[in-house]
Amino acid sequence: MGLLSDPNRRKALTGLLTRLNTPICIVCYLAGIVWFMGLAFEPFTLRTYMSENAMGSTMVEERFSSGERALSLAKEFDAHKRKAGGMPVEWLVKAMQSRGLEVFTQSFSRKLPFPDENKERYMVRGTNVYGILRAPRAPRTEALVITAPCSPGNTNNQAVALLLALAQYFRNQIYWAKDIIFLVNEHDLIGTQAWLEGYHHTNITGMEYSPLQGRAGSIQAALSLELSSDVITSLDLVLEGLNGQLPNLDLANLFYAFCQKLGVLCTIQGKLQRNDWDTAEGYTHAAQTMMLMVLKQACGRSWGDHGLFLRYHIEAASVRGINSFRHYKTDATTIGRLLEGMVRKLNNLLERLHQSYFFYLLPSLSRFVSIGYYMPAFGLLAVILLLRVSFPGLCHCFSVSLQPSSPGVLTVLTPVVISHLTGVALYLLPVHLQEMAVEHFPVSETEAVVLTAIAIYTAGLALPHNTQRLLSGEGTEQGWKVLKLTALLYLAVLLGCTALINFSLGFILAVTLVPITASITPHMPKALYAVVMVLLSPAFTILYCVFIYQELIEAPVSVSEGWMLFLSVISQGILDHALYGSLVYPLLALFIYPCWLMFWNILFWN
């Protein structure tokens, strides 16, 4: 590295960087966006392939044949569900016992922090029923899980029935090497969460549950089944889990391989794959599929029962039956065979799924973008923040601020502290003040929480940020530079860490936050820049995402509907955090928003 040790060349390099700083930043930003959009272009992506040898060469033969019986079972289940007015626990226990499983139940209860208006629930009380198929001559060390939710109304009857039919069929086979757990959970994700916490004897979300009586060792993989009609036209694979975690890509490959084998139409994000990548429509289609995945992953919620398994290092995916108006129909026997094949291959696993990728984006089921390809897109955006640190003057003031006599540190401290206190308020107050809000305003609890959050968010903008003047008098030129330097480094670290864990979230935040934070100074036209900053703030980013998402799933909404959706997204985000431990809400409230406030502070520096 002669470049760094040679003072002349070093000077030339820094000179170049400072002189061409703005153009380089603009080029980086554009390159980052273009790179990202290019990821969906098929020639740039890799074809998916099965990495796990234990699942690849050992092809299995599917013999499940009781699809019709499953459908009649679905009717029976439906009748019992109606009679019981919820989960027919006794019927399920008997049904599983008669199929030769060891059956256990778990009851749980959970009081939500505020009523969930989407699913209309507040005090949740339910029971999970699960049966364990003990593998012969296996010492109870490994298990696979198949779950089906017992949902209200007519939904998912077929899923539970198919689960029971599979249990009956599996029980009579001798090749099992891992125990298989058949779980029927009530209240969808809450039931799954209770069961998983019970199974692993943890309590991370304040759930009340009865301890589990039967276990089967460490769970290797899980499949969640959602099926609401007797015939389906396609199967949709859902991968996005809590906090943007994804299962090992081999699980998706496995699903795809069996769909191909059995001739079942399969989709991801509800989109079929097209072969005409070289046309504009083909590219747009792939880009839309990928954008949907990015948006779903970024929001950090679990998009199916499988999402909660991922925290426990259990590879899991949801398989969702779709019945649309296509002519090509698939019956329950074929779906049963597909699941049988998948479970048998998972049963063949010698090790946990680990060979393939854990970080990927899917523009279609047969193509994937690995972390090595998509990370540069984020890197190009993040490097702008670091380049701005070398902005003329910033470097200089950094060395000045390190001198203890200078007021630099002190001037930075107050805005940082105030911003973060606002963030803490945004995190804590909405849920805790809901009762007070309901007393004083004619709103429901849920509205109270969301509106309090928005109010605190807005109030943060109006806070007297210039308190440093009390300590050090007039805001100095050097003061805001120190603040900007701190804020830039802070944002770079935040986004970098976020992107490593959840690329989509990091990238979306970087796209909106980087341009304005990189260019902000107090010497700009304040009114104009204030509007631009607000429009690029985290809350508006969520709003845009809502609209883009609706556009992509081909259900465009009007502005008022979009606003209502935006409100429900916020309440869901807070609920996800309380119920399942999703980290997006605390991340935004405690870190991203305060960081953005620091830049807001710079704009109004005087």
Binding site: G100, R134, P136, A138, P139, G217, S218
Partner: protein, 567 residues
């Protein structure tokens, strides 16, 4: 409805008289117990017992004439001065909640425990050699037993035979939970029998059927016992046991009927000519009137096994009357009797840093409390935090009256934790201890590291209060399966319960891309570290360009002349 059909028994001749006592008397007995289980499965337990009135360990006397006792084992006993040897190979897990207690319990995988004679000076050396020899005899990976998985339990494993050795320095105990048991282990085991698999009950042991079952366990127990009731001299007892549980659900296609032929795809044709007794017991305790056994037997036996009085139909293969057809066996399932003592274990928590081992012990006795000995042997790579050890019964703290803890040494020995816990009646006792997962050296990972690492079963040993009085005096006509563990009191019986082994994931590097890792590391070190180190340690000086030769010469001359130098 269970029908036991077409069990054809052909007896050749009466033969036991043919045995002439040699210099040292020896004797061989064989026995098969069939017990229909409450879950609808069938439990078949074989026991073969060879008794030999000789002493391998006597000084100056070399035993070289072997008749019934297998020579390979006899030589091992005398060479390594073994006082008692217990080895078991098990594939599957005994489901205590569904099946009740087994006659002789064993943990999944391989288990070996040996008491050495107290004249042995180098116990560890003997142990190491012994495991290697046994590994050869039984075709098993017992050579993987080394000091890192061997413990010396202080209380849980007392000698079952003669002699009350209590110094646990001479005891070695090891389990290999990963060991897979298959035909290659069964064949050498069968070869130890006097008749091999040619005659007698061993004919039924067709590996194709034995391994098409829910549970398979084979064991060898060698111990010294009294020759007679006065206990004037010592005899050696070799017990070979084989326990199988057949799953009627998968094999019977829903019909609950079975026969010896269906289970083993063989029928009995003769007793082992070398056996002094050869019997088949069928447990008919549960609803005998609904059993249809064919042929019926006039012999009914009663035995008190594991605190329960059971009734058996006895078929004596050495008697000519057993001729006939034994079939049509009928069974009514009744409510499951909860076993009095039951234990299970699991790992709690998530993530790859810490975890918690939970051992749950159930006392299902309605009104009696009894103490149990819990023994846990945990490999060193799970670093136990022993200060987090808690024992709770009925949500109250339960202080163990005896704790023996030997901490692990990294790469040398495992943790050993033994506790005496009083179980309150009708209660669940939970023992928890937290651990941290160690980061292994890269050569220490097994070939399939992402499978996880096994932790052997913990062992719960207890004297369980009996519902019926136990016979304490030893009589000859007792069935073999009821006489393994000597009963010392009438009111309680000894039970050992093994929990399931654990599979724990350790933090594992990604071995699939060593090349990438090496490249990346080298690049980072070379480029990043190298240049920064260079930058930080180098002192920068402005370089004076050296004057050309002509100027230097000129300066030399000028210096000599004493005029100012050129610059």
């Amino acid at each position: 409805m269970l029908i036991l059909s077409s069990l054809l028994l052909f007896i050749l001749t009466t033969h036991s008289e043919a045995l002439t006592p040699a210099a040292a008397r020896d004797e061989f007995q064989e026995e098969l117990v069939i017990r229909p289980l409450h879950s609808g499965d069938i439990y078949a337990s074989f026991q073969f017992r060879t008794l030999w009135d000789t002493d391998f360990l006597q000084e100056g006397q070399k035993v070289s004439h072997y008749r019934l006792f297998p020579k390979s084992l006899g030589q091992v006993l005398s060479k390594f001065s073994v006082r008692e040897l217990h080895i078991s190979f098990t594939q599957g897990f005994w489901r205590t909640m569904q099946w009740g207690q087994p006659f002789i319990p064993s943990p999944p995988g391989a288990e070996l425990w040996v008491w050495f004679h107290d004249t042995v000076s180098d116990v560890d050396g003997n142990w190491k050699e012994l495991t290697n020899v046994l590994s050869g005899i039984f075709c098993a990976s017992l050579n993987f037993i080394d000091l890192t998985n061997t413990v010396q339990p202080s209380a849980s494993f007392k000698p079952l035979g003669l002699g009350n050795a209590t110094d646990h320095r001479f005891l070695r105990y090891a389990t290999l939970p990963r060991e897979i048991v298959c035909t290659e282990n069964l064949t050498p085991w069968k070869k130890l029998l006097p008749c091999g698999s040619k005659a007698g009950l061993a004919v039924l042991m067709k590996s194709e059927k034995l391994f098409h079952s829910s549970f398979h366990s084979q064991a060898v127990h060698i111990r010294p016992i009294c020759q007679d009731e006065q206990c004037s001299s010592k005899a050696w007892e070799l017990r070979q046991t084989l326990n199988v549980v057949f799953d009627l659900h998968t094999s019977g296609q829903g019909k609950k009927e079975w026969s010896l032929f269906k289970m083993f795809s063989r029928t009995l044709t003769e007793a082992c000519p070398l056996a002094s007794s050869s019997k088949v017991y069928v447990d008919i305790t549960d609803n005998p009137e609904l059993f249809e056994l064919s042929p019926a037997t006039p012999l009914l036996g009663q035995a008190v096994v594991l605190g329960d009085r059971r009734t058996y139909s006895v078929y004596d293969l050495s008697r000519a009357e057993t001729f006939g057809q034994l079939r049509s066996f009928n069974l009514l399932l009744r409510d499951m009797l909860r076993p009095l003592l039951h234990a299970e274990r699991y790992v709690a928590g998530f993530g790859l840093q810490t975890g918690e081992i939970h051992t749950v012990i159930y006392n299902n006795h309605p009104y009696r409390a009894f103490p149990v000995l819990l023994m846990d042997s945990v490999p060193w790579y799970l670093q136990l935090y022993i200060h987090t050890l808690t024992v709770t019964s009925k949500s109250r703290d339960n202080k163990p009256s005896y704790i023996h803890y030997q901490p692990a040494k990294d790469r040398h020995r495992p943790h050993l934790l033994e506790m005496l816990i009083q179980l309150p009646p009708h209660s669940m006792t939970e023992v928890t201890v937290q651990f941290e997962r160690a980061l292994l050296k890269w050569t220490e990972y097994t070939p399939d590291p992402n499978h996880g690492f096994y932790v052997g079963s913990s062992v719960v040993s207890a004297l369980v209060p009996s519902m019926v009085a136990m016979r304490t005096n030893f009589t000859q006509d007792q069935p073999l399966f009821s006489s393994f563990v000597p009963v010392k009191e009438e009111s309680s019986y000894f039970v050992r319960v093994y929990t399931e082994p654990l599979l724990v994931n350790l933090p594992t590097p990604d071995f699939s891309m060593p090349y990438n890792v090496i490249c990346l590391t080298c690049t980072v070190v070379a480029v990043g570290y190298g240049s920064f180190y260079n930058l930080l340690t180098r002192t920068f000086q402005v370089d004076e360009p050296s004057p050309p030769l002509s100027k230097r010469l000129a300066n030399l001359i000028r210096r000599m002349r004493g005029v100012p130098l050129l610059t």
